[in-house]
């Protein structure tokens, strides 16, 4: 059984410029051809020939970057927006958690708003009366239900909206990134309710940027990119492909930024602030690479990283130590080491050379990191010290906290029932 059938849907948005508007107004009046002259001057296709079917009873995830057409897709499915071409059919009553409490009137009480909102969502007065207490209880608004909605906090507003929408008891539930605004106690309650829907074999379409939740609760996922379906299928595979794509994009972004920074910092003044030493030995260039030797700035925590330094010594020097340091944006040293600490005894260096530090597994949590590299004497006298020379990004769907991520695993005795979701 198919609950939602999206068949070759294209949705084109029209952009009108101010100048165009004036022209149309003029020609509409002068020539009297309203519909012809209301033509737009630019077209943007938010959905481009999208087709998929959602079977009854499954939880279907939609992921994608901002502006990839997710919200348009939901609007087309609810019927708020009409597809420019193609068709959509939905089996059963549909309820959308898109904009919670969109229809609330600020001047009247929560009680009256529940009734009007419920009617807008397709309930009869009788049904609302029956469900009224449940709605209020779920929203935790017993004390405030007779106060005008304008006096509600945004959290209360959202809770009431969620509570009404979820109590409509739909066959198909559309959820668009609404859990982002709830507080710590309300969000689990909502997720519980969504779980409850899944157990009752209702169809859910779930749009979210929270990839770990998507992976956890969805049976199938599609990834939209620029209005087209990029991949569709098993959650883990799609989410991974999406993450891969994001990493590539971040990489590009990073490089672009890096270039800008390079341009800005070509001033010798600024350079000097982050670099000191007389440069008897000079670190000429530093490259960050992955284990395959590909230059890269975005890593997953399980990946390895190679730091390559091109060195040049202008005379024969016998006392030297190479070091690296990794800092997070707060300035906390996440890791630092040098050849002396690792018990290398320097003998001599002269001319060009290359130093490579291989980190088998980065083992850091999500975030941006800055790299310091240095070459100095054993007593600390710097030859060449670069502060914040380079930066890199660790990107992970996990939300673990702290500074580093030691390798670890979990074990449970047989009495504990627990399951891995990813």
């Amino acid at each position: 059984m198919v609950a939602i059938d999206v068949d070759h849907v294209t949705r084109i948005y029209q952009k009108y410029s101010a100048q165009h508007r004036f022209k149309t107004f003029k020609s509409a009046i002068v020539k009297g051809n309203f519909f012809k002259s209301l033509r737009p001057d630019e077209l943007v296709s938010a959905l481009d020939n999208v087709s998929f079917k959602v079977e009854k009873g499954i939880t279907f995830g939609v992921i994608g970057e901002n502006g990839s057409g997710k919200s348009t897709l939901l609007k087309v499915i609810t019927g708020i927006a009409k597809p420019t071409s193609g068709s959509v059919s939905v089996e059963g009553k549909i309820s959308a958690l898109i904009e919670l409490g969109a229809g609330f009137h600020p001047e009247i009480s929560g009680r009256e708003n529940i009734f009007i909102n419920g009617i807008m969502l397709g309930l009869s007065k009788k049904e609302i009366t029956e469900k009224f207490d449940a709605i209020v209880r779920f929203a935790e608004l017993e004390e405030f239900i007779d106060a005008p909605v304008k006096t509600y906090s945004s959290g209360m507003h959202m809770r009431l909206g969620f509570s009404i929408a979820i109590n409509v008891n739909p066959d198909v539930l559309l959820i668009d990134e609404v859990l982002a605004v709830g507080d710590a106690s309300f969000v689990p309650k909502c997720l519980d309710r969504i779980d409850d829907f899944r157990r009752r074999k209702k169809t859910i379409l779930f749009v979210s940027h929270d990839l770990s939740t998507v992976e956890k609760i969805c049976d199938r996922v599609i990834w939209l990119k620029h209005g087209k379906i990029q991949t569709m299928g098993e959650p883990k595979r799609v989410v991974d492909a999406y993450l891969q794509d994001i990493a590539e994009k971040q990489e590009e972004e990073f490089e672009r930024r890096q270039q800008e920074v390079d341009k800005e910092e070509s001033f010798e003044e600024e350079r000097r602030e982050n670099r000191w030493g007389k440069r008897e030995i000079e670190i000429k260039k530093v490259r960050l690479k992955d284990m395959e030797g590909q230059e890269k700035h975005v890593y997953s925590p399980d990946e390895g990283m190679v730091i390559e330094m091109d060195i040049s010594a202008y005379s024969q020097i016998k006392d030297f130590v190479f070091g690296i340091g990794i800092f997070n944006p707060k300035g906390i040293c996440c890791y630092g080491t040098n050849t002396q600490l690792e018990e290398f005894a320097a003998q001599s260096i002269e001319g060009e050379g290359r130093v490579v530090c291989r980190i088998e597994k980065i083992g850091l949590i999500n975030g941006t990191y800055y790299l310091d590299v240095a070459v100095h004497k054993k007593d600390g006298y710097p030859y060449d010290y670069h502060r914040n020379l380079d930066s890199f990004l660790v990107s992970s769907p996990r939300k673990d906290v702290g500074i580093s991520r030691p390798e670890h695993s979990w074990e449970f005795s047989s009495g504990i029932k627990i399951k891995k979701t990813r």
Partner: protein, 273 residues
């Protein structure tokens, strides 16, 4: 055409929603005021007092139909002023804004947009109904008489309802694309007010003398609606039923065309408001 008909049937289906939205509008309008609902009575009363003082006592029109009495003139004035100002003007101005103000409903939830102009016209109609008893109470006080023709008032009200609704559909849908209409409309309504026999009767000497003026006034559909009220309440005579009938047909055409335009532009509302 089939779709148009289906939408009209839907409109009936949404009557509960319309009912609720109208009562919401009414409740919300006076929420927080000390006098609350009484404003629905006071507003027309104050309107009457202002116009009576200015036109009845300061300008003092001499016309046989008022027997030169400022009180009779006040009654005449009130017959047109109440449906015009409280119902027609309020509905027109509000419907120019309604789609934009209620943009949230259009953009964010599946909502039958066409009920918004209906709600505007209906809620102002309720205000008009609140003012109507004030008008009727003042009939004997200001020197008029109740006649059986008063019972024909619902016919006139019906014609105005159709006309106002058609105009509201027209205005509300076009304003979404041409915001300038809002400002044009305010001025247009002032002009229209004076181009309708509300503060002067059709029998006024300057109108009587110029056949051009008379023809122009007769071409204005609001003339016949306002005269309808004046005949029922002020003159106590049968209204010119042929003219009112033509006005009704015209109003139906306006409603049809207004709704047609509204329907054609409907899909563009979510992205334009």
């Amino acid at each position: 055409m089939g779709r148009l008909f289906k939408n009209l049937v839907d409109l009936y289906k949404y009557r509960v929603l319309i009912q609720n939205l109208v009562s919401r509008e009414l409740k919300a309008r006076y929420r927080g005021t000390v006098l609350g609902f009484f404003w629905s009575f006071f507003n027309p009363l104050l309107l009457l007092i202002v116009y009576t003082v200015v036109f009845g006592f300061i300008i003092m029109p001499r016309d046989p139909s008022f027997e030169s009495s400022p009180w009779m003139y006040a009654l005449f004035l009130f017959c047109g002023l109440l449906p015009w100002q409280v119902w027609f003007v309020a509905s027109s101005l509000e419907s120019a804004n309604v789609l934009i103000i209620q943009g949230n409903l259009i953009k964010k939830i599946l909502f039958p947009v066409e009920i918004l102009p209906v709600v505007v016209v209906a809620s102002n109609f309720v205000h008009f109904l609140f003012g109507l008893p004030i008008l009727l109470i003042f009939v004997p006080i200001l020197g008029g008489h109740y006649t059986p023709y008063l019972l024909l008032l619902p016919v006139v009200i019906l014609v105005q309802f159709v006309f106002t609704l058609g105009f509201s559909f027209f205005v509300s849908s076009l304003t979404v694309h041409f915001r300038d209409i809002k400002d044009i409309l305010a001025n247009l309504l002032t002009f229209w007010f004076f181009a309708t026999p509300i503060i002067y009767p059709m029998t006024f000497h300057t109108v009587e003398k110029s056949s051009l003026l008379k023809t122009l006034l007769n071409l204005n559909p609001m003339t016949h609606i306002m005269q309808g009220y004046q005949y029922c309440i002020f003159y106590g005579e049968l209204f010119r039923w042929k003219r009112l009938g033509i006005t009704l047909i015209l109003s139906l055409v306006l409603l049809f065309v207004g709704y047609l335009i509204f329907d054609r532009l409907r899909d563009s509302f979510p992205e334009e408001v």
